[in-house]
């Protein structure tokens, strides 16, 4: 057997032996004689050093990382929509140190140029008046936001900038797209690096690759410095979970440690933006914007778009540094600009533009239009402006040459009437890069996205980026149909600063903090409901389990089944059910199992498993930035879809049992992960309050239904066993008493014992403790109403005597138990409403628009 300890130089042929880039193209790995370019040698040697089995294993691990992280599929997306593709190749793209230095200079120059240009476009407009920049190009661009004129941030519009660049067959790099609207793309680059380092960390170290974290540390301190406050509140504004880039927004917010907020979390009062938190409104100092500029303020921008809080533009007038990038920045993304940049660069910076754009002409220009109409070149017509810049999602253009005569006529007419919206571009071809496939290394056409961020009056380029495989036949924008990406490695030049986590600012400035940063009302609301749904799922499935089978020897008798039926009816009473549907309820099952199968297979009723698990998935995904990765993975298995329900419809009793056991375990795992991983702060309080409240409702409801009236000793005995099983307290009871279940003892265990986590009293004690720790725990000097409710229930339970509660009147009623439980049945739902109103009220209202119109009196 050959070992891997020998020098790799002795067998370089293995990976490279059949690597054959197409002739006439530029390849990054080998030159046109087929010789490896020197800066790739250590990387290829390292890969050669891995047995092919190990390479395959690592590639598989990387695939799993991608799917677990959530990049590959968008779980928020409509399930019927085609999934977004994302793949990360084990082979990175490595850039030579010399080339990287040039990239850094070139990208910084472009960022600076765009900053000066934006200052002019939204300021004196000298470029437009002199004609260096065609006024029509700016005026026709919907990203030019007139309301933002004269709002010029002191440090410039751009704090981050990204460029898509590609190398043509001539070996020259050109810019194919610019990104200034949102920093969203950078999250994909970070995620790629994190995943890749996990799988190929040893090679990363061997190749001396620069880390990304320093770059963000500089960026963070810049943003904090810009706020002018020592501990600024920084928010990352996202359009919300329906946006296709939500993954990257939540990832970036978590990476940078910023609040992830939606417009509903914010409110502008006067000229200040506030975050709605549990403790009321807190001012926000800086907003990192991941919303489209035009959609960021319904008051002064696009009236039908509510992605940002109403009044945001006006707040920027008072504080132009409030939003980064400044609203309106994306006007520099216009693809028509490229041809004018070299002259503008010389004029504004007094330098030659280092990195030029792919040749394109803006069709708002009459001469360019005439040229296109008469040209026989292979030109592609493309929108001058496009979307939010999710990597690899650029639309394909329309070819003039390959269009049918009729299509060409339509296209030419469109160009002539709305030319300002289009550019014409030439195909340049793309250089190739090696990708690792099961067959070995294969060349693939690619483009790069590189990122720059502001740094002390200038810009710095993130030492890394995204390399994306492109369709070689496409024109010059970044369109990657299969989403194949590669990490970008920049080797160190000298010694790097030691690694410091983003989460630990310099120790001298860090304060030890245990208190929680502000919790948004919306997040508190979601966590509260997550707690309720988890507990509801657990309880419902326990009820179902008692109906399906013989968990213990005492079950299966007629009274025991009756007890299950009563518990099931109690749940079914809370929803609307189809009892007459064909094949439902199932006639082949016992009555209790029949009722249970309705909870399993029906979709609409409240307390149906479908509703409960849908609720869990929904609210959990809305609080995703607070869940651990493990919890997130468990959650992925929760979804109940139509296929699952129809499978359950045909399942046998024991199959149903298995499924319910599995799901109970999943909920327990998820709950355990939350329990182990969440710090005990406000977020935790709300999660736990939701769970305690739901459990208090279920326990009190059941005790009341089963025992407020005595039927017969036999029935009572079965009901006692049933309720002990439901409350997971049978074993505790047996170990304590070694007796048949007896009502006073069971009531003590399930109602009054504050040490039993399943008891009613335990839930009240927990609620009381959480409510006391939350802000707004008092109304002036008095307790709040919700605390008074809990206190009165708690006192009644503590004063209760189990023998009095168990006593049966002549008519069969246990009025002591009724007197104790009825207030709880009324007041617990009220308690939920009161908590909502006090802490989540700020999220309730949806903004909407009003306007009057001329010519009428309405």
């Amino acid at each position: 057997m050959i070992t891997n300890t020998k020098s790799v130089a002795s067998k370089p042929a293995e990976l490279l032996s059949d690597y054959r880039p197409p002739t006439g193209t530029f390849d990054e790995l080998v030159d046109n004689t087929g010789a490896i370019r020197p800066h790739w040698a250590p990387l290829i040697a390292a890969f050669d050093g891995l047995p092919s089995r190990e390479r395959r294993a690592r590639a598989r691990r990387l695939d799993r990382q991608v799917s677990d992280t959530g990049l590959a599929h968008d779980i928020y997306a409509d399930p019927s929509a085609p999934p977004q593709q994302w793949r990360l190749n084990l082979m990175p793209f490595i850039i030579s140190t010399e080339e990287w230095k040039w990239f850094e200079k070139a990208l910084v120059q472009r960022a600076q140029l765009f900053n000066v240009m934006l200052g002019d476009i939204y300021g004196p407009q000298k470029l437009l008046r002199s004609g260096l920049l065609p006024p029509g190009l700016v005026f026709a661009d919907p990203a030019y936001l007139r309301s933002c004129r004269a709002i010029v941030p002191p440090n410039g519009h751009l704090q981050f900038y990204a460029a898509d660049i590609a190398r043509g067959h001539d070996g020259q790099w050109r810019v194919i797209d610019n990104h200034a609207e949102t920093p969203a793309g950078i999250a994909y680059a970070i995620a790629n690096r994190v995943m890749h380092a996990d799988v190929a960390g040893d090679i990363l170290a061997e190749c001396n690759v620069r880390r990304l974290s320093w770059h963000f540390q500089d960026f963070q301190s810049l943003i904090e410095g810009q706020s002018g406050r020592t501990e600024p509140n920084i928010a990352l504004l996202t359009p919300g979970p329906d946006h296709p880039d939500y993954f990257s927004h939540s990832y970036l917010a978590r990476y940078l440690g910023y609040h992830l907020v939606e417009s509903g979390d914010l409110r502008v009062a006067g000229e200040v933006v506030f975050l709605k938190t549990l403790e009321g409104l807190k001012p926000i100092d800086v907003i990192v914007r991941c919303t489209e500029g035009a959609r960021s303020d319904p008051l002064e921008l696009e009236p039908s778009a509510f992605d940002g809080p109403s009044g945001l533009v006006h707040a920027c007038r008072a504080n132009p540094a409030l939003v980064v990038n400044a609203i309106g920045s994306s006007v520099i993304e216009n693809r028509g600009l490229g041809g004018y940049l070299p002259t503008i660069c010389r004029e504004l910076l007094g330098e030659d533009l280092l990195l030029t754009d792919a040749p394109r002409s803006w069709l708002g220009d009459a001469q360019a239009r005439a040229h296109v109409e008469n040209s026989s070149d292979d030109l592609v017509i493309r929108d001058a402006r496009e979307g939010t810049g999710r990597p690899g999602q650029a639309a394909l253009g329309r070819s003039l040459q390959h269009a049918s005569a009729a299509d060409r006529e339509i296209l030419v007419a469109e160009i002539n009437t709305q030319g300002a919206r289009f550019v014409a571009e030439r195909r340049l071809g793309f250089a190739t890069i090696p990708m690792l496939t099961p067959q070995g290394l294969r060349p693939r056409a690619f483009a790069l996205r590189l990122f720059a961020s502001a740094k002390n009056g200038g810009f710095a380029v993130m030492p890394g980026g995204l390399s994306i495989g492109v369709d070689p036949g496409s024109a010059v924008a970044l369109s990657a149909s299969d989403g194949e990406t590669q990490d970008v490695w920049v080797p160190m030049d000298g010694v790097e600063r030691p690694h410091t986590s983003l989460w630990k600012p310099q120790l001298q400035t860090a304060l030890i903090q245990r208190s929680q940063r502000n919790l948004q009302s919306r997040v508190a609301d979601n966590l509260f409901w997550l707690g309720r749904y988890l507990e509801r799922g657990d309880w419902t499935m326990r009820v179902i389990r008692t109906a399906l089978g013989r968990r213990f020897e005492y079950l299966g008798s007629a009274p025991a089944n009756k007890a299950s039926e009563l518990s099931l009816e109690l749940l079914l009473d809370k929803g609307t059910w189809r009892r007459d549907a064909p094949n439902e309820p199932r006639q082949d099952l016992r009555p209790a199992a029949r009722l249970a199968s309705m909870l399993i297979t029906q979709k609409e009723g409240m307390y149906s498993l479908a509703q409960t698990f849908d609720g869990i998935s929904r609210v959990a995904s809305l609080t995703r930035d607070r869940l651990s990765l493990e919890a997130w993975r468990t959650l992925g298995k929760f979804r109940i879809d139509d296929a699952w329900r129809s499978r359950m419809r045909d399942a046998s009793t024991s199959e149903l049992q298995d499924e319910i056991e599995d799901r109970l375990a999943m909920v327990a795992t998820f709950g355990g992960q939350m329990h182990e991983n969440m710090t005990r702060n406000f977020g935790w309080f709300f999660l736990d309050m939701g769970r305690r409240l739901e459990r208090a409702c279920n326990v009190s409801d059941s005790l009341n239904a089963h025992f407020s009236r005595s039927v017969s000793d036999d029935v009572d005995r079965e009901r006692l066993r049933h309720i002990l099983d439901l409350a997971d307290s049978y074993i505790t009871y047996r170990s304590r008493y070694r007796l048949e279940p007896m009502l006073p003892l069971v009531l003590d265990l399930l109602l009054i014992d504050e040490t039993n986590p399943r008891s009613f009293a335990y839930q009240l004690a927990a609620l009381s403790k959480h409510l006391e720790s939350l802000p707004q725990a008092t109304d002036g000097n008095a307790l709040t109403r919700e605390r008074r409710i809990v206190l009165s229930l708690q006192t009644a339970v503590r004063l209760a005597d189990v023998h009095e509660l168990s006593a049966v009147r002549q008519d069969g009623r246990r009025d002591g138990l009724e007197t104790l439980l009825h207030p709880a049945l009324d007041e617990l739902p009220q308690l939920s409403d009161l908590i909502s109103r006090r802490y989540f009220r700020l999220v309730e209202d949806e903004p909407h628009r009003v306007a009057t119109r001329p010519g009428t009196r309405q």
Binding site: Q125, L128, R129, S130, G131, P134, P135, G136, F139, A140, P142, R146, S147, R149, R267, V268, A269, G270, E271, P298, L299, E300, P303, S310, G311, H314, R317, A366, A413, T417, Q418, A420, D845, E846, P847, H848, R849, V850, A851, T852, R853, P854, G855, T856, R857, Q858
Partner: protein, 292 residues
């Protein structure tokens, strides 16, 4: 002529509004033939914050926020304005319509030129479509003087379209107005603007008022009892010239302009964002009378 204009808007909401923010274009501007003698804007309940500013197009406007709960809102603007007659114009001569934009682009532009170029560019509500071009082109024979083409388009819109407040609402697109041949002043202004801009003629939206009760012997014009809207186009010889397609008229002393923009949405009299409020009823009362 001196006018006194009262514009009162009252909102009643079904449910309490917890916060409302408004952009208000109710203040007149002193331009060309107009001098503002007096202006006041009364808001009830009193706004928590109010900022008076000048917008992108040079119009005065206010941004205000009412942060206390309210279920009614009244905004009452009162203005006194002096208007002088416009000079007589010869529509038969002047720069041809198809030369205007090239002339503007050829030279180093002034701020006013840039504004004209901006106004030659289609906006969201005035997009160039094949239907717009089809309708417009009859008024724009090659080499035709711009004012002549503009008057022809004004007359055609007046003849082809019926004033009908029930046919459209505040966001009806030009395509539907063209298809149904009905609408109000705002719709006709947007249609005219779309036509001018399709032909690359600088054109802007004007919002303002008409005399509520006409002088004896003169007919009452459409839009007299509410705020009104018309258009203005730009020529190198005389600058901005107004045309009112709703009344087939070249506005003179009886049109009082308040604000200019590319379209209605740039300068709508009141537009706001509410939190809460449910449904609402709005009542607008406009009264324009001669003070002299």
């Amino acid at each position: 002529m001196i006018y006194e204009i009262s514009h009162r808007t009252a909102y009643k909401y079904d449910a309490p509004v917890t916060q409302s923010q408004h952009v208000v274009h109710l203040a007149p501007r002193s331009v060309d033939r107009q001098t503002v003698r007096h202006h006041s804007l009364l808001i009830e309940p009193a706004p928590s914050t109010r900022t008076d500013l000048v917008d992108y197009f040079g119009n005065p406007y206010s941004i205000l926020s009412i942060d206390d709960e309210h279920s009614e809102l009244v905004m009452h603007a009162r203005s006194t304005i002096q208007v002088t007659p416009r000079q007589s114009l010869n529509r038969e001569s002047g720069t041809p319509w198809d030369r205007i934009l090239p002339l503007l682009l050829e030279k180093q532009s002034s701020t006013d030129d840039l504004h004209a170029i901006d106004c030659a560019t289609p906006s969201a509500a005035t997009q160039t479509t094949p239907q717009v071009i089809d309708y417009a082109k009859a008024s724009f024979p090659q080499g035709c003087p711009t004012l002549m083409a503009a008057w022809d388009l004004t007359c055609r819109i007046f003849a082809d379209f019926k004033f009908d407040p029930t046919a459209t609402d505040v966001s009806t697109p030009v395509s539907r107005v063209l298809a149904n041949r009905r609408g109000v002043c705002q719709d006709f202004a947007h249609l005219a603007l779309a036509c001018f801009r399709a032909m690359r003629v600088p054109a802007r939206y004007v919002s303002g008022y008409l005399l509520t009760r006409p002088p004896a012997g003169k007919p009452r014009m459409q839009g007299a009892d509410a705020s009104h809207a018309w258009v203005a186009i730009w020529t190198p010889e005389v600058g901005w010239v107004d045309f009112d397609p709703t009344n087939r008229i070249m506005p003179d002393e009886e049109h009082i302009s308040f604000a200019y923009g590319r379209e209605y949405h740039d300068i709508s009299p009141i537009s706001g964002v509410l939190l809460g409020g449910g449904r609402h009823i709005v009542n607008v009362a406009v009264d324009t009378k001669c003070a002299s």
